[in-house]
């Protein structure tokens, strides 16, 4: 698993990364009530807003963690956004991104550094 400073996690399988938001992020956000995911086949550059998660109070952007193309999205979290809070790094995944440059994955933060960032 790798992490971003924007509180996303990535799990690589071949050249496809599954992406979600971290437990820490879900606790900060509170109960989620709406999720908007990108279209399959859409292409994103690192840092662009690929998805939106919304709590009662606010909308929060989810950024593309790396350059790539969306090859799958999790319809389960669209119909039940609470899955993200209950199982953020499992059934609460958001989308799968085919990476333009698999090498860029290795440069992301590992778990130890991410937990230092969040102070956990």
């Amino acid at each position: 698993m790798k992490y971003t400073e924007e509180h996303e996690w990535l799990r690589l399988d071949g050249d496809v990364a599954t992406v979600g938001i971290t437990k820490y992020a879900t606790v900060q956000l509170g109960d989620l009530v709406f999720v908007q995911l990108p279209d399959i086949g859409s292409r994103w550059t690192k840092g662009s807003v690929a998805a939106v998660v919304e709590s009662v109070k606010a909308a929060s952007d989810v950024f593309a963690p790396l350059d790539g193309e969306i090859v799958a999205v999790n319809d389960g979290v669209v119909s039940d956004p609470s899955l993200i809070g209950s199982d953020p790094e499992g059934t609460g995944w958001l989308f799968k991104l085919r990476l333009a440059d698999v090498g860029a994955y290795d440069a992301l933060m590992d778990g130890e550094n991410y937990h230092k960032l969040t102070g956990e």
Binding site: I21, A25, F34, K57, S60
Partner: protein, 385 residues
Amino acid sequence: MITKSDVRAATLPLRTPLYDLHCERDARMVPFAGYEMPIQYAPGILKEHLHTRALAGLFDISHMGQIAVRSRSGTIQSAALALERVVPVDVAGLMPNRQRYAFFTNGAGGILDDLMIAHRGDSLLLVVNAACKIADEHYLMAELGSDCIVEREERALIALQGPRAESILATLAPSCRQMRFMDVQSAMLLGHDCLLMRSGYSGEDGFEISIPRDAARSIVETLLDSPDVALIGLGARDSLRLEAGLCLYGADIGPDTTPVEAALEWAIQPVRRTGGARAGGFPGASIILHQLEHGAARRRVGFRAEGRAPVRAGALVFAESDDQTPVGAVTSGGYGPTVEGPIAMGYLTTTASQPGTRVFAEVRGARLPLRVTELPFIRPRYKRI
């Protein structure tokens, strides 16, 4: 990925007498109107909201301003008449031990702040918004100072809201059972002189309670001994008031919105309107009185989204999905936990404001269909009889 939308206070934040209690009980504190206030506790906004509607929620609203107005001549009637110079509301007709919603208006007919006025027998107590309270106090001194004493009361203020509020408060003050909506009563709580007001801002029955600062913690802890009472933060306070169709000052009303535009005519009694015994005589009277008779060009309405995406403050509203010119905008919006869907309030050109009208809000570049709806979104449960 967490968008930092919270505005940091420029100076050292203030703390209410309940600050330590909030921290001990796992509040997430945020800067709000110059204070460090609880936005939520461990259960989170959704559960806090639903708890208030099902049982009882306890809110620290000590950041709000409590301003006493007394007549220099000693008669409360002259203080009430003086206050009528700054609000378009019947204050002189307010009976002892009753309270009433009001707003300060400006010369353009806009709203400088909204407030509650309580008649305490010997004085009027004004409860005003935290962000406005210093300006309000100076304004009142300038406008009423020649015949009134205007004095901030440094007391705590809590709200106990929800269907169990009465039975819980009655364990400390049995006489609260006799109060009805908008009644005011002095009562001793645990030996401390408090003021009970049967009102609130959640759409539920309940009370706002003014408490000496030193007694706030013990009274709150005693109320929290009931398993039906939970602490509720500002997040759920906002979603509760939105469902109840109540205005948030600075979002839904402000210096650029008149009471008629804001659909608050009900707060302007006939005695202050054209033809009334004390018609006009408040800032912006000519504009407001004209709008009361002829209507305004825009109006505050409710919106229900047809889809599931929340539509939030700032979203522009269009009559058609491909129109270039908006007919209005959303001023408050989010998810309503009790109505289980996105709800919003905002302004629309009056001609487009009929309930049932379909309009479109622009959200992240897309046009989402909304239905104009009557307010409130829930049936209020004030104790009117």
